[in-house]
Symmetry: C2
Subunit: 216 residues, 2 copies
Amino acid sequence: MSEFAVIGMGRFGRSVATTLHQLGHRVLAIDENEEALRHIADDVTHAVQLDSTDSEALQGVGIANMDAVVVAIGAAIQESILTTLILKELGCKKIVAKASNDLQGKVLERIGADAVIYPERDMGVRIAHTLSSPGVLDYIEISPTFSIEELSVPERLVGQTLGRLDLKARFGVSVLLIRRDSQLLISPDPEIGLQAGDVLVVVGENRQLTKLETSL
Amino acid sequence: MSEFAVIGMGRFGRSVATTLHQLGHRVLAIDENEEALRHIADDVTHAVQLDSTDSEALQGVGIANMDAVVVAIGAAIQESILTTLILKELGCKKIVAKASNDLQGKVLERIGADAVIYPERDMGVRIAHTLSSPGVLDYIEISPTFSIEELSVPERLVGQTLGRLDLKARFGVSVLLIRRDSQLLISPDPEIGLQAGDVLVVVGENRQLTKLETSL
Ligand SMILES: Nc1ncnc2c1ncn2[C@@H]1O[C@H](COP(=O)(O)OP(=O)(O)OP(=O)(O)O)[C@@H](O)[C@H]1O
Ligand SMILES: Nc1ncnc2c1ncn2[C@@H]1O[C@H](COP(=O)(O)OP(=O)(O)OP(=O)(O)O)[C@@H](O)[C@H]1O
């Protein structure tokens, strides 16, 4: 069991704090706004009202002993940067900071954030891919060039076998598994016939996946 | 090539609009605030300033002809709900709406949104999982009970073969692929020895994955 602090109880910060608590960890939620803390007080270990740009206040709650600190401040970009700087100076083991744009992200990296995340941007990319190709249910980047995609099997492919579809030869894409109702068929046999409602989870280069999407 | 409208140019809306445009589609960006439109005017097909709760204004830009409309309004929950209702009445083919909390999400579903998404909440869950187990690089739900996870191979497992690890028998988890530098080893041979820096992409029930995480 580890101990985490999450600073900034917006939609993202609340989600991180309550999920960590559900996974069995001790969670300290921090926000300067009392109203924001009231909503989550029962779903975390401790909820403390303080201004995270106040170094002494952070020391007072033992922030440096945390296994990781998440800085989830949004609109107040100055505060997010200043808070991250203070955490670094206090010797925090791991700092994960949310950024609203690339410039803020670069500054947070330079001053020592161990990881910078862009929640809205990343979800926007995923939703755009699922809209761009109606068959794509979800799209996940696993490296700069490769992604995993969930594709719903179109009507006209029902009854065909994976062997006949031969996605590897035609698109360079591999089928990792088939989701059929609540079951998973992992590394499926090429002789398996596709059924209506099947979902293919495939992996390939981004260029190859886009080609597959447009052909389905 | 399809045609999309995105209403609300916050961080999420901008990301959806610009990604769809990069994927080659026609994109109409809508916001009531001129400043918000100025940033993205060059990255979309058209940018129009209007209040999306004004039904006539929406008809005036041909919103019903779009292949899909994304409602990415955040803080103004009333406007998001009213806009979704109007789009439904105008006969839009597909409406994807962002929600800030469960209650808003339920209302959006009831009035006819085809998909409701929670960008901040979902990213919060993923970040919490990656923090909860240091080896977890990413965590993706593929159904209510199954998820795919990216796990970095810990020091002490370097040199072991997948066959010896036998994750299937011990945890009920299957290894879909190994990411090694910029290469992917799909459906890897059990005799393969793990190397430092390898990343395993595995699939299993959420309960099984949590057990695997704590044991690594
Ligand atoms: N200096 C600070 N100290 C502590 N909390 C702060 C500070 N500055 C801002 N916050 C808090 O951070 C929280 C999140 O900030 P904000 O709402 O601007 O982010 P957001 O990106 O819109 O959030 P989300 O998208 O996650 O809902 C707010 O509850 C705010 O009170
Ligand atoms: N009735 C409306 N018509 C058009 N645009 C609107 C309307 N109401 C709000 N908007 C726009 O929606 C955009 C996004 O709203 P807001 O910033 O509250 O969302 P957010 O959830 O904080 O955004 P994000 O988290 O994606 O940055 C704003 O640019 C705002 O001008």
